[in-house]
Symmetry: C2
Subunit: 87 residues, 2 copies
């Protein structure tokens, strides 16, 4: 969906500019965690995952595939579910 | 899945500590964009979305629902698909 909506703009902006937007939205999420109400918080979560998806599209990474390749029903470090890491 | 794997740890760490991890993983994604190969890049994307999901779990936000509530087949600003924003 993000590809269909925004790739024509994301691809022109490029990876550096899109990453800078992701960092900015992550900062805004931090502010909403401290000061925002539930609705504002949900919108900031939406923006972070949207810009993460835009960035993945720009660099030709399948975000869902990448996530499920590393986190696939077990912790990638201890191989347990739930995670049993002790550090 | 992230709730099942990690919520027992995420909830103890709390929102501030989990947010700090998200910021750190976002920084690592930026480094992989500049210097990493495709596999490293995919793992960093996986880590960012994983920590974003962990943080959403800690503050009781449904990440998927929040994303689809704001970005639902149309750009939330111009209401078009694909986005026609001119700024």
């Amino acid at each position: 969906m993000m590809h269909r909506l925004y790739f024509h703009r994301d691809s022109k902006r490029g990876s550096k500019g899109t990453y800078d937007w992701l960092v900015d939205e992550t900062r805004e999420l931090g502010e909403a965690l401290e000061n925002g109400n539930k609705e504002e918080l949900e919108k900031e979560f939406a923006d972070v995952i949207a810009w993460l998806a835009s960035l993945a599209n720009v660099v030709n990474v399948d975000l869902e595939k990448a996530a499920l390749s590393k986190y696939n029903d077990k912790c990638p470090k201890c191989k347990c579910s739930p995670c049993q890491c002790t550090f």
